[in-house]
Symmetry: C2
Subunit: 250 residues, 2 copies
């Protein structure tokens, strides 16, 4: 078993690159840290390239990970590759996921949602609502950002999330004659005027500016969630939950 005793080790430098979008895009890998997240990845069958484990860490035998290369490191190494203040002594380098996306009937398109917590919570919500796929468009927080992954609460490991071009996905759904709903406070209709259905796509957008006009112009109908109090708007993940649970016919 390999052993690393300095945060300046060359391997540690490679791992640290996975904390950036650039480093992840280049390698097709991502890094997760923390007992619960690594456990979720193991259980979900995510391809783990290697485990990085602090000397004091305890790994349950039930994880059944004898086949995965493991490197033992000092605590300072774990700290160097973690974005949390109290890292838990276990991290993993994983392969980014790829999904077979045939026979999609329901989809959620995320347009330029910037807060990683929001993107992660939206993915978790779409998973819970039984949606077939989430497409994360340009300008959104990176799907493999550590904060996004944590906020998905494991959904990222077992639920189809795709980085994609929203324009192409709109065309794909239009070709299949599946209705696409935008969200817009300005030119929308009350979401309750639309009937639940087993096939639709919903587009949610940026925290400040909403869904881009270029997408709103291509949708059949744009929806809004009415505001009854004095709040200016709803959090985008909360609005997504309200809309998906209304639209989804189950």
């Amino acid at each position: 078993m390999k052993r690393i005793e300095s945060p300046k080790n060359e391997r540690v430098k490679q791992w640290k690159k996975l904390l950036t979008k650039k480093g992840r895009d280049k390698t097709g890998l991502f890094l997760i840290e923390g007992f619960h997240l690594v456990e979720e990845a193991v259980k979900s069958g995510v391809h783990i390239e290697e485990l990085i484990v602090a000397e004091h860490a305890i790994i349950p035998a039930t994880w059944n990970i004898a086949h995965i290369p493991m490197t033992i490191v000092i605590d300072d190494v774990i700290k160097a590759i973690s974005d949390t203040e109290t890292p838990q002594g276990i991290a993993a380098v994983c392969k980014q996921l790829h999904w077979n996306i045939d026979h999609i009937q329901t989809a959620l398109f995320i347009d330029a949602v910037q807060d990683p917590g929001n993107v992660g919570t939206i993915i978790r919500t779409a998973d819970a609502a039984g949606i077939d796929v989430v497409v994360v468009g340009e300008g959104s927080a990176d799907v493999y950002n550590a904060k996004v992954i944590r906020a998905t609460q494991g959904s990222l490991f077992h639920f189809p999330v795709i980085k994609g071009d929203i324009g192409q996905w709109i065309a794909r759904f239009q070709n299949k004659h599946i209705p696409i709903y935008g969200t817009s406070l300005q030119n929308g209709v009350d979401y309750r005027s639309v009937s639940p259905s087993s096939s639709f796509a919903l587009i949610v957008g940026n925290e400040g500016s909403g869904v881009s006009d270029k997408w709103l112009q291509q949708t059949a109908t744009n929806l809004y969630v009415p505001i009854y109090g004095k709040a200016e708007s709803l959090n985008v993940a909360v609005a997504t939950g309200i809309l998906l649970y209304h639209l989804q016919k189950k």
Copy 2:
């Protein structure tokens, strides 16, 4: 106008105490930082005891705040009293809010929700849904925590939020014969089996353990939001949005 040029100044020490729940409880005050939040407080008519302003800061004349005592400080003082990494050069000491809570027909009770972002987003959601009052029970993140205030997006300044005893509030609603709904994945019914109404109370609970059993035993009906995918649960603020928008008759 007063001027403070050291973060070690005695006044700065007093302000820093307002970053803790203890300091806030003792004084009945709270501290906000950032242009947008201070603007919201000014507009909402929150009682501002004093403004703390960096030398370079610009204040719009439309704020109309000539009557509020102002202290000019160096940037290091703003940094010392802010919990954000890039403070914006303006802060305010405000009086905690008190609300007239007669004629309440709808309420949301928050039971031990620990994440400040969740508590704030739940308050914002209840405001948007047109609920009359939010009661924040023991064990929840403090309402005047800076992260809670930011996540409410201004709702805290104009919407009735009360720190209270959930048991007393359950009794109050029972006396008025208004139905109280708990939330529970174990012994609940699908939320859609309950009809919308213009008077009800909803209890939402801790991120891990949900609503306390002692409250669930006192409710008429406990509700759950069905999970159709593989996600274990919904984020508590998202679930609150789905439930309130279903329950609320508008």
